[in-house]
Symmetry: C2
């Protein structure tokens, strides 16, 4: 079992994992959350690949029924040696986060960690940018060594695909969930230079109304499934649907183009 | 010369590069900005590596004097075949952005593009997150095919190293430059759930004062040179220096831990 590189002890603020003693000398496994990027299998890092190939156990989120997108993204890189833990998450917004599912998954993972087996958990985009991995992390970080390999976030991937820099110079850039109510959404967008509006879904009409009120519709770009085969993008003004798929977001910069 | 994968034509909102006709049938080169990640050479993506190895010309930023950090990050992956363009940027804040340097660099790059040679430009972190690449992009995107390969941002790398999720659920997360004046900094931090304060440098005392006023000092973590050999981090309250190095930031979440 090859441990991944860990930073040197940084004193009081070292990652919790660095503070975990081996109990009774037993070598426990490490939970490693890896960012696998936004969808294109080539947007995974060398470090994530090394960690993935070295670990015996692979955990990943999946919907209630059907295939796991995270597993599909890394499928070209798998050689079949992993024991797999499929974490089926209810995708109904109202039930999120599904605490019982995280409790169950944490215990499934803990069985392997106790036996000294490293467990890699696949995270779409980056593990710590609105990812469900944070909830597994919270349940296990005080009991086991945990490491995180950052990944390419879907937000920067959307910017790359659109040819639209997110922010330059002294811009304030915000990530704003479309789930906020209209007043909160307006207040948030009002005072920033640029924003990514995530979790668009059924909130599209409300988001359109706020952007129109702020006279930002002409600066807003809609994009779905960035870097995936079904990638699609257009000016938000031309996107006529009433709702948007889960993997979509709106990018807006008040100067239109960030370099201006 | 192997072109990189380009997304299908997306209509009006296609990347500008997709709209560039070849002039008189001549095959012009493509400018490709690649995110090379925050510092650890293994935090580069497979896609960036493929693009890097396929292109004959390599451009990268460097300080006035001395070595280029961007080039040092990818050095383990270079095989010596590239023609190199070193873009020496004045690092004095007041002179940034150095328009003349971008003008010069754009023309140096254009010579190769006109001759049909692809040019890869190295970008620390992600090209479109406060990167100087945006200014090269702006100068060349209307004249040449330009592509961008997103990378791991230093912001998510800092979160990974600290074991501190940036945001969960319906959090509003902001990237706030420490260069803002005190009132603006306070107004920005007041209404978000979490923030990364970048460009700390000589603004450290002001940032401390604002975080203290907002009673956020105990939630603030300082980190410098994340994923690099000289990486260092601590609670901001324990960082006693009067200024911070260029590659540093402060992460703060109002709930302390994002999963709470």
């Amino acid at each position: 079992m090859k441990p991944i590189d860990t930073p040197d002890d940084q004193g009081l603020d070292a990652p919790a994992s660095a503070r975990q003693p081996a109990i009774g000398g037993a070598q426990r496994g490490t939970l490693i959350g890896i960012g696998i990027g936004p969808g294109d299998p080539d947007l995974i890092t060398l470090k994530a690949l090394k960690v993935l190939n070295a670990a015996p156990v692979l955990a990943y989120p999946a919907p209630d029924t059907g295939a796991s997108l995270a597993r599909a993204i890394v499928a070209p890189h798998l050689d079949g040696h992993h024991t797999e833990i499929c974490i089926r998450m209810p995708m109904v917004t109202a039930r999120f986060p599904a605490q019982e599912v995280y409790d169950w998954a944490a215990e499934e993972i803990a069985v392997h960690l106790d036996a000294g087996r490293d467990v890699v958990c696949l995270c779409e985009g980056d593990p710590f940018v609105y990812g469900s991995f944070s909830f597994l992390f919270a349940r296990l970080v005080d009991r086991y060594p945990v490491e995180v390999v950052p990944g390419v976030s879907s937000i920067t991937a959307c910017a790359a695909v659109l040819g639209a820099p997110l922010a330059t110079r002294n811009d304030v850039f915000s990530i704003v969930p479309g789930t906020l109510d209209m007043a909160a959404l307006e207040a948030q967008l009002e005072r920033v230079d640029a924003a990514a509006i995530i979790k668009v879904g059924r909130h599209l009409a409300k988001i359109r109304a706020v952007l129109t009120k702020l006279e930002l519709m002409t600066n807003a770009r809609y994009i779905e499934r960035a870097t995936m085969p079904a990638q699609n993008s257009m000016p938000l003004a031309e996107f006529v649907a009433e709702s948007a798929p889960y993997f979509s977001m709106i990018l807006v910069h008040k100067r239109g183009l960030a370099w201006n």
